[in-house]
Amino acid sequence: MSSASAPKVFVSRRVPEKAKALITSQCNAILWEKDEPPPRDEYLKIISGIDGLFCLLTDKIDAELLDAAGPNLRVVSTMSVGYDHVDVKECAKRNIAVGYTPGILTKATAELTVALLLATTRRLKEGIRAVENGEWGTWKPMWLCGQGLDGATVGVVGLGRIGYTVAQCLNPFGVARFLYTGYRRPDAEEELKAEFADLDKLYSESDFVIACCALTPETAGMFNADAFKKMKKTAVFVNSSRGGVVNQDDLFVALESGEIGAAGLDVTIPEPLPTDSPLLGLNNCVVLPHIGSATHDTREAMAVLAAQNLIAGLKGDKMPSQIDD
């Protein structure tokens, strides 16, 4: 639909058909059709005069961008649950409604977190490599031995939707104890006998430390040299939240020196992680390209929800999933 009265929106990446159809049926849509993300300067030009923006977490939605869009912009809809890339205060000042996609990506992201934990602790990267380069064939009793979950203490930093689901999935693996920090969850304490603990206790007693917290000014860089020092030497650290909660240089040092056992990261700084990052040279570090929500069903559902958020916001209705500030 491209009548003059239909709201003008920019969709900053190609999205699944279902979502695209929803948007184009209701809006005058400018669609970015390339595989590479729109370069910043082009982005700022394209959005001039738009009413609504459909964006991804790779787009920085700050005052500069909002200025470039102009006063008509009243809806920002991000296809993600994290919104650390959106200056929500600035949006609120300008009466811009912000939509996001919580809930529907919980399962896919929790599953990926578990997959990453298992791949890291059971040394699958080294195993796959050993098969490919002919290392398989040597027998040492502790060759490629990892740390199992059976009898382990698992510490979840941030027991939100994703963290809780991760803990539920890990439970039948024989986990002896769950520790957690962040907000109190009586339901988790009941169902999983999870124990609320301060960070120091979680770090010093956990065999697995899983970061499932949102990136906020409080959590930025929290996993630093200090934190890694407090963790066990055999600890497996898993981050599927945001790269920004980790001090990456400190992590490299901790992994290389044996301060902690291993790390699995689905998120880094920056993203993509440059191919010469020292983390990629470590046997005990697994890095995935931010695929937490990457399943067909979930990505389609996220795109559709983000489209619905966009359309509702443009109509002046409450979005299905709106960020309240």
Partner: protein, 331 residues
């Protein structure tokens, strides 16, 4: 523990954790295979000659007539570093009065964990993901939000071939992911295992047709060698994922290659192959949707130590004429 008349001779065809073996070394004359590679057949035979006890594992260490003849009639006990016994001629050992032990139960958890690790790594395309990061592909492909999109376990149908100890342990772990159904198949119904988790017994064909994830966890015997052949892959869904942690011989590897290449099935994760090690030239290793790990199912520190303890217990029992802690068969 009774006194042993003279130092019995034990040959370990695989190297074992040092600490665990100390207990054995105090009471026996222990020879351990040296070197980085598995013993060749000849090295194994030479090592076994004149021994009272052997520690073996599935791979080159087949226990057959040739091995038993070479070892000699003084051989009292063989213990395998595995739960599987397909590399051992059990009937012949029985006939010759050689006790056979293995390591069930202590390795169930680690193996089930590896089975799930492999299933999830295959479902979420971990191998392709790691490569994409390393090769700098990350950030260059978007694919309409579908780049490297994988398969969800939630809502899927799991099919377990062989609901034994390990199969059941895998089913219990996957059940927590909110799967839609757990199916199983095998020679016998196992209500004690299946009922508590709501697993449903079906025929092999039904399991193939209905499952999104097919997990092979059965023990191997003459009836299931090559069970996963061209016909089986045809019956599976085009999006199905096969996971094999049982023995390589259950899968027809050529048929698997064709099925993966043509899209007859979605992907495969294998911890066991034919042969082991899999040659680096194997065509399976050229496929992005085939993930192979080097038989590391029991590779956790606690499990390996527990297996060692159990092996030593069995060896000492066998040497002293007592019944084994975990015998492969009862006399």
């Amino acid at each position: 523990m009774s006194e042993l008349p003279k130092l019995p001779k034990v040959y370990a065809a695989i190297s074992m954790p040092l600490e665990g073996m100390n207990r054995l070394r105090k009471l026996c004359q222990v020879t351990v295979h040296e070197g980085n590679q598995d013993p060749t057949r000849q090295e194994f035979l030479d090592g076994a000659r004149g021994m009272d006890a052997l520690i073996v594992c599935p791979k080159t260490m087949t226990v057959d007539k040739e091995l038993l003849d070479t070892a000699g009639s003084q051989l009292k006990v063989i213990v395998t570093h595995s739960v599987g016994l397909d590399h051992i001629d059990i009937d012949l050992c029985k006939e010759r009065g050689v006790k056979v032990g293995h390591t069930p139960d202590v390795l169930t958890t680690a193996t089930a964990e590896q089975g799930v690790a492999l299933l999830m790594a295959t479902a979420r395309r971990i191998q392709e993901c790691i490569r994409a990061v390393k090769d700098g592909v990350w950030g260059t492909v978007w694919d309409n939000a579908m780049w490297l999109a994988g398969k969800e376990i939630a809502g899927s149908v799991i099919g377990i071939v062989g609901l034994g100890r390990i199969g059941l342990a895998i089913a219990k772990r996957l059940a927590a992911f909110d799967v839609s159904k757990i199916l199983y198949t095998g020679r016998n119904l196992r209500p004690e295992s299946a009922d508590p988790i709501g697993a449903e017994f079906v025929t092999f064909d039904q399991l193939l047709e209905q499952s999104d994830f097919v997990v092979v966890a059965c023990s191997v015997n003459d009836s299931n060698k090559g069970l996963f052949d061209e016909a089986a892959f045809k019956k599976m869904k085009n999006t199905a994922i096969l996971v094999n942690i049982s023995r390589g011989v259950v899968v027809d590897q050529d048929a698997l290659y064709n099925a993966l290449k043509s899209g007859e099935i979605g992907a495969a994760g294998l911890d066991v192959t034919t042969p082991e090690p899999l040659p680096t030239s194997s065509p399976l290793l050229t496929l992005p949707n085939c993930l192979v790990t080097p038989h590391i199912a029991t590779c956790t520190v606690t499990t390996r130590n527990a297996m060692c303890e159990l092996i030593v217990d069995n060896i000492l029992a066998g040497l002293e004429g007592r019944s084994l802690k975990t015998p492969a068969f009862l006399y």
